[in-house]
């Protein structure tokens, strides 16, 4: 069973052996940064944790599940067209959906939709372009769609168990990202890794994403519903 091999490989020498560490470094980066910002700035904001706590926490988790897939794709550089389409679509859609959903829940549909779309398209293009123009296109389209869908979903759930839905969505999307990690492993298990890198790029990407998301949620423009 190749899934069992995949689980074994999570402790191996290939890039799959670095996935769990990538999640850890991404989470540590987010929470250290958020801790510093909270100590110096955010604790002065009234009702900060009840108002933003859950969504900032979920955004840190979301980026921690997306970053490992990006690392895995960078390690192999080239993949077949069909795999590229799946990679571009999954990462673009999930990155866009989560970013849009989280910002949409605190700032409204317009800001959430635009932010989700930008994050989704950028990540979708970056990951999908490993595999030619089809992956690139798929990443771009999925990012666009995911961003707006995420924001729309959170605004529609405002009065209907938004917090519970947010947790369910993050759990389901985490399972999808693990499936993507497995798919990439299956596609590349006979190949050698093409790029060796440390964790600095993952830490930088996480820091940028979490900083922009948090800043936008707290100080960004809002729709009339959230003023």
């Amino acid at each position: 069973m190749s899934f069992k091999q995949f689980i074994k490989e999570l402790n191996g020498d290939k890039v799959e052996g670095e996935l769990i560490k990538t999640i850890l470094y991404s989470l540590l980066t987010s929470f250290i940064l958020l801790g510093i910002l909270y100590y110096f700035k955010f604790r002065e904001i009234q009702n900060f944790i009840p108002k933003y706590g859950l969504f900032i926490f979920l955004s840190a988790l979301s980026y921690a599940i997306i970053i490992p897939a990006m690392r895995q794709i960078r390690a192999y550089k080239q993949m077949p067209c069909m795999s590229g389409m799946m990679i571009g679509m999954t990462t673009g859609m999930i990155a866009g959906f989560l970013a849009g959903y989280i910002v949409g829940a605190t700032n409204g549909m317009f800001v959430g939709g635009v932010f989700g779309m930008i994050i989704g398209i950028l990540i979708g293009i970056w990951t999908g372009s490993c595999c030619g123009v089809m992956g690139f296109m798929e990443g771009m389209m999925a990012g666009f769609m995911g961003g707006w869908m995420g924001a729309m979903t959170s605004v529609m759930l405002l009065n209907d168990h938004l917090n519970a839905a947010s947790i369910i969505i993050v759990v389901v999307l985490s399972a999808i990202m693990i499936s993507l990690n497995y798919m990439i492993y299956k596609e590349t298990k006979e190949r050698k890794r093409e790029s060796e890198e440390d964790f600095m790029l993952d830490i930088i990407i996480t820091a940028i994403l979490i900083s922009i998301t948090t800043w936008l949620m707290i100080y960004g423009p809002r729709s009339a519903l959230f003023q």
């Binding site: 769990i20 560490k21 929470f31 108002k51 926490f57 605004v155 529609m156 405002l158 009065n159 519903l225």
Partner: protein
Amino acid sequence: MKNTTSLVVIALIVFIGGYVVYSNLGSNNSGSDINSEEVQKITLGMKNYNYYPNTIRVKAGIPVELTLDSSVRGCYRAFTIRQLGISQISSSPSDKIIFTLTEKGTYSFACSMGMGYGTIIVE
């Protein structure tokens, strides 16, 4: 660092972060009070996938206390009068929406997504 240790640390971070967030959920103490003695009380329900009644008449200058009853669901609970910049969420019928319309005229109201709509006539 071994992966097992990494997993334990990830679980700890998620657990502690989740606990901090969960223990603070629902402690938001924002709210609004009516100071005026005279208010116009209006209750809106839902019928045929729209607000009911969907035409309401109010007097200018007197605060309006709007209640969305329990039949109103989803985005319909985000009551919006776009022309006047009024937009408020009512999570339950006890969560009143209070506003004052000072200028006479006819305004459109809707839910935040424009799915339910109606007219408010200020006399």
